[in-house]
Symmetry: D2
Subunit: 333 residues, 4 copies
């Protein structure tokens, strides 16, 4: 992966932290939640309040929906963005919404705090360049047919425009298996951490398309070291205008979040203890690349970064990342 001048991980690179209205992806674990589509003010606001109460740190909601058929619900457009804006004012949650057209990047960017580029547009290079020029944080989903190399090159398109705020999101790839909607490829978590300094989130809703799989796959993503999750929540899934089968009810989401938090806490403590042992010289061997859950803990003492990157400030705010995430650290141990 030679061409990844800005996206690639070089020896010594720490993981980047992407700041979205104060939510620091790559440093803190972040759950983005909300409906597949913004359908009405009531539906969106009630969902926003509920997911915030359950611990979500950002609100997602689609105003422009890429749909297989031109006759399917296409989203509320500007009206949807205004509803999201209201939800932000009421809950304080930053807004994550998809942009699907180069012409919309600037004005949709006025409503969105984190602009999502969806799987079907991953290789819409014009859109990637506009996203780069916008300077907004970008959530770049993996195309359902795209290799890791292609995906990271798409991030490179954005970074090459001077925008270092890119978060990757694995959302399942298309395979022969039809039991699940897509095949969620969790191996991309360690792969991205090894090849790039960008944070990686996981979308188990689209990744499986099956409600009962969202919790186990979310737990798995946490255990594998994901930096966050994007999960679809709807106040009344059976009435949803899109993706009925994979949206959680607010109470299901809340119950799941408690279990996710427990696992997060456990993994954070465990890695903090390991970092402590390393500092004291108790540890005989440090493991090969692993999850970066101890970021806020271990990293504070271990790493001090002096940012001299070529790229504007591609890693500027990456100061909090952990040594343990660095696959090159191996040699040192």
């Amino acid at each position: 992966m030679n061409n990844l001048k800005l996206t690639g991980r070089k020896p010594g690179d720490l993981g980047s932290v992407i700041d979205v209205c104060g939510v620091r992806v790559g440093e803190e674990f972040v759950v983005i939640a909300g409906p597949c589509s913004v359908e009405s003010e009531e539906q969106t606001l009630r969902t926003a309040v509920a997911v915030k109460a359950a611990g979500a740190k950002m609100l997602r909601g689609g105003a422009f929906k890429p749909r297989t058929s031109p006759y399917a619900f296409q989203g509320l457009g500007l009206k949807g963005l205004k509803i999201l804006d209201k939800a932000k004012r009421e809950t304080g949650l930053p807004i994550v919404t998809e942009v699907v057209d180069t012409r919309d990047v600037s004005w949709v960017g006025e409503y969105a705090d984190l602009l999502q580029i969806g799987a079907r547009n991953m290789q819409n290079f014009s859109l990637l360049r506009e996203a780069g020029k916008s300077g907004k944080p970008i959530l770049l989903k993996r195309g359902m047919y795209s290799t890791l190399e292609e995906w990271l090159n798409c991030a490179e398109y954005i970074l090459a425009e001077g925008n270092a705020s890119v978060i990757l999101c694995e959302r399942g790839i298309r395979t022969f298996e039809t039991f699940t909607r897509n095949t969620l490829d969790l191996s991309m978590i360690p792969a991205v951490h090894a090849e790039s300094h960008l944070p990686i989130m996981v979308d188990p809703s689209h990744g499986t398309g099956i409600k009962y799989m969202i919790e186990p796959m979310s737990l798995a993503a946490i255990a594998a070291g994901a930096d966050g999750l994007e999960i679809e929540v709807h106040i009344d899934p059976p009435s949803a205008l899109s993706d009925k089968d994979q949206q959680l009810r607010p109470e299901e989401f809340a119950a799941m979040m408690r279990r996710l938090d427990d696992l997060r806490d456990f993994m954070g403590e465990r890695l903090e203890a390991e970092a402590e042992a390393i500092r004291k010289g108790d540890a005989i061997s440090t493991p090969a690349p692993r999850s970066d859950m101890a970021s806020s803990a271990a990293a504070k003492d271990v790493a001090t970064q002096t940012d001299t990157d070529v790229n504007a400030s591609a890693h500027a705010d990456a100061t909090r990342s952990i040594a343990s995430r660095d696959p090159f650290a191996d040699a040192m141990d």
Copy 2:
């Protein structure tokens, strides 16, 4: 495939004919040829003259190249379009070129006679809508990850905007096989003819990525009933700025075209004889759906077309197509 109101084939529908500056795709067999990218005036003009001499009916050439890496050659843009325009004036060949951005559709459409939407943008629904509004004939390539159903729904996006001039192009799908660049899925030829009235072309250059496979796969596409081919030709492939390994030299293309023409002639004559036998009542059984090579032959007696195009009568001008292409004809035999 219930939602294909305009793209779907209904019992009795004949195949549509798409007119591109007098070249009638669906009625006559059409080879589009030219370089992957427009690189210079000399390269483009020399190629244009050569492919015309060999029998190509349209000139292809990319001015905007979707490339995996942002650091790869991205095309000459407007300069490239002007070179194509010059090539058109010199050879009379209609121009086929890709558009990759909604903002470019109108002005690129002033240079292009057939606007190509590439595999990576197949589900760029905003671009599909703009392509629909433009009223220009569209060459819609199959996404490397897309099912027949998704592909036809993308055509539906264009037709739903009132633009019935869509030509489909199979260019290979992504599978586990890495020997070939893609897996060229020729079964889409009879599949498209059964499910839709739109014509289908085949791109064996991208479909295989291997020079020595272009001829056998082109012959196969003709035998299976394709309405045309899109083939990359470059005056000096080793120096090409993209796709070096799959571009033919003009003399290779010319030699191949002679063999393609022979096969086309043979299949046309054979089907004409069959059509004649049917008219005379000599034929005991008529086959199930098969290639539509007899179009120009058999069809002449069957129907006369008055071209009045445009949406409301998406199929209106399809009257020149052949009964033998109609999968519903079965029942009558």
Copy 3:
């Protein structure tokens, strides 16, 4: 593909001819036809008589059926083999039937003239070795998940046991596309001809799983240079115990065979003319690798074959094949 000591094509290698009871695959074009499963004596004999009349050169029929579910019809076993034997005595057609167990190779081999190893057993290496030891001609189908390299290595297992009589058969691979049962990969025809001296047949019945696609895909396979076809024919498809949707009726098969024969004749004549032109020095350029349809024609003047088969001279008897099939011939032109 370095390890293909016996299966690989070396510069100068001609295509191998595999003799099955006098039917010479690789030299003459061979259609194998018959029911998916042997279900009864009447069904099998009537089908055998019909496919012979239509021009098939071998009779296929499954006595041991690999089925997804243990509760599906598993084949008649020995009883089925005896029915096939009777069909052979009545029609003279060599028998093609599948073997699925190492323990059965020798006794099934007493009934079969061409032992088929199915897609699901392609990498059953024990079975491949037994097939090699048996000395019987083997029809090795491509696994639905296997690369060209793996497939040729499986042939190598057989050749490495001293059995050079292997015919490859492309039958479709598994992809995300569900419209067709499998994705028939016709690019394997030129690929196998380039990488190996073994002949390659195509099975459009399993390759598409859709009746109306069998003819166009058969024509395409011929045009791309396949050495033969394997096609499922049943006297009453709706009553078939397996693969109802993809078996042709005898009259459909006969009608199709006439069109396949026409195309075969045409391509043979055309290549014979080209060979003649080359001999006379009229031809300016010889094409890159292409179909080997002229084998019986062009080859007659080129070489004379004495059949002395068996391993040590895996390629020894391949002398009848055509120069035009040789991808290395390029350099000479």
Copy 4:
């Protein structure tokens, strides 16, 4: 999945427990470890001692290796089995080894405690039947191209012979992604638990083919509710005769096992607490299907099973499984 008479999960079914020499898969979490291939007595014994010390409960080692090329190392055969036998006598670890030929099932079964059927033989139905007749516990790996439905049907072949002791093992499927050796499909963990009562293990070694991914994918598998892991360990990976790149050194394995154990303990405690809360009526809602880590804990009090299953005793020893694993439990909450 209608045909899964014995393998399918019916409402009320508890998860099966498969007893392998006292190791109870489905009840306790089980790590199988050992070299890809048995290469020598020293290599095997040293590995066996090391993996036992690190907490592995069974020893794996291949004596018959299915290899792509016939010229690659094929395993030591009987000699390898005798080495495994010695390792078992020295360590007490039950032996897991692959069988690849119907003729070998009975005698290999004398050395193996858990017979492995590999991915390439998943649909070798003759071998499945012999495995069923053997009565030995079977570890059935998922074919690299097989759907959940096909996989469970292969288990059904074994159960239909009266052998209910089947453990499934996800080992990655083949997709377009080449960065990893296979795409490890962890969604099969909740899927198998929902559709079947059989336990499911995960093989991250073959599933990723990359050393640094084994730990994060193992942690993820645990978090998603896997019943165990199969991991390749070699005393000197660079000298291994197969799969060099994915085998862990004993000390790497031991370090990883400590982290796996911690996660296992945490998840067990958490679920035990949840089960306790349910018993006390404290819990307002019980989650949808989730990991079954609390099996030994929660299940003891919650479930008492009276086995009256139709199928011989397909579930006979499933008495220890947990309510929380039952996807049908949802309705009750």
